[in-house]
Structure formats: C-alpha cells, structure tokens
C-alpha cells in the first residue's frame, strides 16, 4: 500500500482496549484521506443523531496521504466528529507537526470511542500505544500540559485540550505544538467529554511512495510555483494572514461591532503591516512549509516571544469589539491558545454580548457589576475570556457561543452565525459569493470551506465583481469541492493560492500510484461534500438552516464602499442547489449520489 501507513488505531476509553485495523486501500483512495476518509470512517460507525457528548460518539484524528511526505505543507491532520456547537459534521484542521508525526508513528488515523472514567492521555509511538492517567494534567493550561508531556515523552509531539475543553465549552479547540489549533466547531469539548486530555505521537516510520522520483519532481515543481507566486512567495511569508486587515477594510466588508458596520477607521493599528513592523520576531512555519504564514511575536508573556495572531483573530478582538489595540489582540490570542478555545467564536461571542449590552438585554447586575462588556472596552477582553474558558459566573453562558447566548435572551438574531457557528471576518453583504458559501458550508459559518474572497476581493485567480450574482454558484461549488480535496490530502489550503487541481492530482498520483486527472480529484471533492451533507441531513439539520443572520439579509450596510447592500441569498440559493444537482429543497438527488458513488 503506497502513501498510507495502512493502519488505523482504535482506542476504546471505556474498556481500555487498544487495537489496530488494516486500512481499506480502495476506500481510502475513494475518499483520499483527512477530511474525506475521516468523515467516511466516522459515518460508517456513528448514528448521526448521537449526542456529541455521549460515550457512543467517536472522534477521529486522521492525516492525509501526503502528510509526512516531502510535499509542501504535508503535515496537517483533521479531527472529525459531531460538533457540539452546530450539531453538524465537524472536521477541524490543524497544522504544526502533529499530523506528520502520527504517520511517523505508523498510523493513518486514530478512532477514539467510549469514555474514560478518569482523565487520561494516550501515548503513541511506533512500538507501543498506552492509555495513561492524566489526573495531574486535568485543569492545566495548554502550554503547561504540553511541557509536562514532552518531559514524560521526550521527542513526542503533543496534542491537548485546555480547561475550555474539559469544561465542555461548545467552542473548545484542540491544540497541538501549543499554538496550532483544530479550532472550530467545539471539537475540544468532545475530547473533554471522553476525559481525554491529550495524545502524544512520535516515531520515525515513513510511508512507501509509489513513484519516489516522480514525487520528487512534482514536489520540486510545486515548491517553485509556491516560491514564485506573489501571495505564497511574498505577501504571506512577509506579513502573514494579517495582511488582509487593510484590504478587507478598504472594500468596506470588515465587520465592526458585531457586523453593525463594515469600515474600521483605526484598522491600521491592528494591521499586518503594523504587526510586522512593531511586533514580529520571526516566522513560525508548520511542518515542511515553504510559506510560513505563522507569526512569532513580542509579548510580555515570554522574553522569547509567543505565537502571534492570525487575520481572523486580529479582526475579532479588535474591529468586531470596537477596539484598536494590538497588544490586547496578542494577549487575547495567547489566552485562547492557553485555555484551548477557538479565537473566532470566543471573540464573536464577546461581540454578541456587547451588542446585547448595548441594547439593554445584558445589564450590569447580570455581570455582578464585574467589568462591563461594552464595545470599545479593551479591559473586558482578556477578563471575560478567562471567565469564559473556565466557565465562571456569566462566563458560563458565554462559553456556549454567541448563538446560545443570544437565544438565552430570546434574540438569536444578534448572533452573527450560520448553523450556530460564528462567522469569520468578511461581511457577505459586499461579497455575494462568500455569503452563499457561508450559508451552505457543511460545518456552519466558515471561511475555509470555499474561500471566495480570493476571486471576489483579492483578484485570484481572476477578479470577479463582488456584487454580481451571476456565476457565483458555480464558483462556490468549485471552490468547495477543491477545498474538500485539499483538506483530504494532508496539505494546507494556502497552497491553493499557487497550485491548482492538476498539481494536487499529480502529487497524489506519484504518492499513491493512481492515475487521476484534475476532474477526478474534483469529483472526489464533490463526493466528500455530498457525504457531509448527508450526515447533516440525517443528523436533523434542515436545509432551512442554509441561511445567514437576518441582519445581513435585511439591513443595508450603513457605510463605506459597500453602503446600501444586503446579501441576496434568496436569489443565489436555488441556483446553487441546481449547480450541485440537488433538488429545489436542497436535498441531494439519487441520480447525483449514484454518480458520486454514494448509493
């Protein structure tokens, strides 16, 4: 078997049983790996109606066939489970080193089932796998846990949850290498519900490659394309993702004060240019990554610096809260990493709370006269993040995410979320294709299921009219399907700024010994997308939830270059369903499922 290690590790935390199973090579190729294969393995075993926190729920950690190879960015892994935030399929992706080392330890995937009676962690290396006690680690922050486990398991890579995951916050993340996050959809809380604190991996095994010389040649070609591309060879390495702050703001789609506005006059203070000029120490790349968008920045938390904020984090702890203080953002990012909590959902929940305060739903008395949750109050950010992560006082309500918070007050419309997952840093009123992709994303509000910002704002691979509706359903489908492919290979989505479907097919072919065309891999992406949709439908997620917050559909953008626009989802959605070959209610047709090999 080429590309894969050929082994799946199954661990039952209720019984303590540990076993290995052979990977079905044909099944693996059909779903590629990562997000695709992880979803298939998960769906074959778990009832979609399962309570995400029940022992019957499972959680799959899976790398891709290109993870651990020399391909650029081949180090990522995916966490697949049912999301406690959305009730949808959750597949949350992370970089760093852990995904590659799972492979070096000899495994393509780990399926964790059951629930331990006391806190445990799993130690994996190529010789043995153990379930070990973690009582001494429970309650500890992410970096303290990581350091303690690295001392016990020298050379191991550590994946762990923080207090937020232990306390079942619906926005808890899974962290690896301390500052890399499988951030979205609350996957950390599923680990917490199983009393599973951490998983360590180490080893030196390597997958067998079908055509090593061919892979070497195509890897070289892809690395050259990445290096010569203006984004992956210039903008991202130099400024990180934070470079988006100014360009998104200048287009008037940079949400402020919980999406009440779209232009931040103080954006420059928290921009990528400012981060680079005043705070950057060095780049912080993931495994085998020639791009290195990750930042390592100055902070009073450590003389050596700490992991720095990404674009989404900069936005959510600044413009979305009416604040323009870079040091507050760097601090907030640090505490989210330590508590193990998704920065987007954490910040967006604070933004929703601030709007609820602005409108009189949250009162000073409810906050026990604690620090006021008010737009512009920089002191409130880290203060309430800590309470959120530890579920103290009003923080317990915040820990449930913006939708449950706003719904508690009877006004869910103030949650800027789709399928209960908070929207990222782009106002869809001025980016019509992106809004369609938000509404139809299988994991709820998300930018990395189909990044239409590329053509609609950034001019990549070509500039589209961001207000135009024609053609957007086709673009959304292609971007969603290609993203599903990349997420299944084990590579980083950012490679797609330089590479196309053909390059991914080439890398897979040389690794696996397949003979796929660009169309073949896109078809696999469409298969994965439909599989996720089927899970959601069986889980009870109605197509009625393919929508956007009412504000974005009804309230005109009040200012800037997007002034006067709303999102026109009602016009786009039927065209999108048609493009996907689904019926008019948004249900995949038998004919389409048959074509995709899903019947």
């Amino acid at each position: 078997m080429f590309g894969y290690m050929g082994k799946i590790l199954r661990i039952n935390l209720t019984t303590g049983e540990i076993g290995t199973e052979d990977l079905d090579f044909e099944l693996a190729k059909k779903y590629i790996g990562g997000r695709g294969l992880g979803t298939k393995l998960y769906m074959d075993e778990v009832d979609p109606k399962v309570d995400p926190f029940a022992a019957e729920n499972k959680i799959v950690f899976i790398n891709g066939p290109l993870s651990g190879t020399a391909t650029p960015t081949g180090g990522r892994y995916m966490v697949v489970t049912k999301s406690p935030l959305t009730g949808c399929i959750a597949s949350s992706n992370s970089g760093g080193e852990w995904g590659a080392y799972l492979k070096y330890a000899g495994y393509d995937a780990i399926i964790v089932e059951g629930k331990a009676s006391l806190p445990v962690y799993i130690s994996i290396d190529e010789e043995k796998v153990e379930i070990l006690p973690a009582l001494d680690l429970w309650g500890k922050m992410v970096s303290e846990t990581s350091d303690a486990l690295k001392e016990k398991q020298p050379g191991a890579k550590v994946l762990t949850i923080g207090p937020a995951g232990e306390k079942l916050s619906q926005m808890a993340a899974i962290m690896n290498e301390k500052d890399r996050a499988a951030g979205r959809s609350g996957v950390g809380a599923v680990m917490g519900s199983k009393n599973l604190k951490a998983i360590t991996v180490k080893g030196n095994l390597k997958p067998e490659i079908a055509n090593p010389d061919g892979l070497k040649a195509v890897t070289k070609e892809c690395r050259t394309l990445i290096k010569e591309n203006g984004v992956t060879g210039g903008g991202l390495p130099t400024y990180g993702t934070a470079v988006l702050v100014n360009i998104i703001n200048e287009h008037g789609v940079y949400p402020t004060n919980n999406f009440q506005g779209g232009v931040d006059p103080n954006a420059e203070a928290v921009s990528g240019e400012t981060l680079t000029e005043k705070y950057l120490i060095k780049r912080n790349p993931c495994h085998h990554c020639p791009i290195g968008c990750g930042r390592w920045v100055k902070s009073d938390k450590s003389p050596d610096g700490i992991g720095g904020p990404e674009y989404e984090t900069l936005w959510v702890f600044a413009a979305d809260l009416g604040i323009d203080d870079m040091e507050v953002v760097i601090d907030a990012n640090y505490w989210c990493n330590e508590l193990g909590i998704d920065t987007i959902s954490a910040g967006a929940t604070l933004a929703a709370a601030m709007e609820l305060y602005q409108r009189g739903y949250i009162t000073d008395e409810m906050l026990d006269d604690d620090v006021i949750l008010k737009f512009g109050n920089a002191d409130s950010v880290v203060h309430w993040l800590k309470k959120m992560g530890n579920r103290e006082g009003f923080g317990d309500l915040l820990a449930r995410g913006s939708y449950r918070l706003a719904d508690f007050f009877g006004v869910p419309e103030y949650s800027m979320s789709v399928k209960k997952q908070d929207l990222p840093a782009y106002d869809p009123r001025g980016i019509q294709g992106m809004g369609l992709q938000y509404a139809t994303s299988n994991r709820g509000g998300c930018h990395v299921r189909g990044y239409l910002i590329s053509p609609e704002i950034l001019g990549l691979p070509e500039k589209l009219d961001r207000f135009e509706l024609a053609g957007k359903p086709t673009w959304a489908k292609i971007f969603q399907d290609l993203t599903a492919v990349i997420d299944s290979t084990g590579l980083c989505l950012f490679t797609s700024f330089a590479l196309g479907a053909q390059q991914y097919a080439d890398m897979l072919n040389e690794t696996l010994g397949t003979n796929w065309s660009a169309d073949d891999v896109l078809l696999a992406g469409e298969r994965i997308w439909n599989l996720e949709k089927l899970f959601n439908l069986e889980a009870g997620i109605s197509p009625d939830e393919d929508t956007l917050p009412p504000r974005l559909l009804e309230e005109e953008m009040p200012e800037g270059p997007t002034k006067g626009w709303v999102h026109k989802l009602d016009e786009l959605l039927p065209l999108y369903y048609k493009e996907r070959g689904w019926d008019e209610d948004g249900i995949p047709t038998e004919e389409r499922l048959e074509k995709l090999g899903l019947l």
Partner: protein, 78 residues
C-alpha cells in the same frame, strides 16, 4: 488639488503609507502608478474612489479631483 494614494504591504517600501499626487484633469490610475514607479502587473487589487474592479479596467477610469486610490500587491490569507 492632490489625489490621495493609499499604499499597502510592500508597496510602502520607499514610498510610505499615503502619497499625495498632484491632480491634472482627466488623470487616470495609470498616470498615478506611473508617477509612483509601480507597474500594472505588480498590482493585485485596486480601488478608485471607493470602487473596485479588474485592475486593467480600473487603471483607465478617470479619478475625481478630490479622489483617492488604494493599491494592493498580491496578498491573501484566511
């Protein structure tokens, strides 16, 4: 009168964040970037007086007397 030109990322190197360019009637974006030593292929996105579009087309649009431009090299993220 002068046109305000906002520069971003590496376009700022040796030029600064905001540059003022003297206005002449009928002036287009192409005239502005010529005066700044920036070429069209280096530009990934361009906004003229609050309107964005394909770079080549936007460079031919006449700028208002008190107008502004925002010019971006290839940048991305997510």
């Amino acid at each position: 009168m002068a046109i305000k030109v906002k520069l971003f990322a590496n376009f700022r190197e040796g030029r600064g964040k905001i540059v003022e360019v003297d206005y002449t009637p009928g002036m287009t974006g192409q005239d502005v970037i010529d005066s700044l030593g920036i070429t069209a292929p280096e530009i990934a996105a361009l906004i003229v007086d609050g309107v964005d579009g394909k770079v080549d087309a936007m460079l031919t649009v006449p700028i208002k007397e008190d107008g502004y431009m925002a010019i971006f090299p290839p940048v991305a993220g997510g």
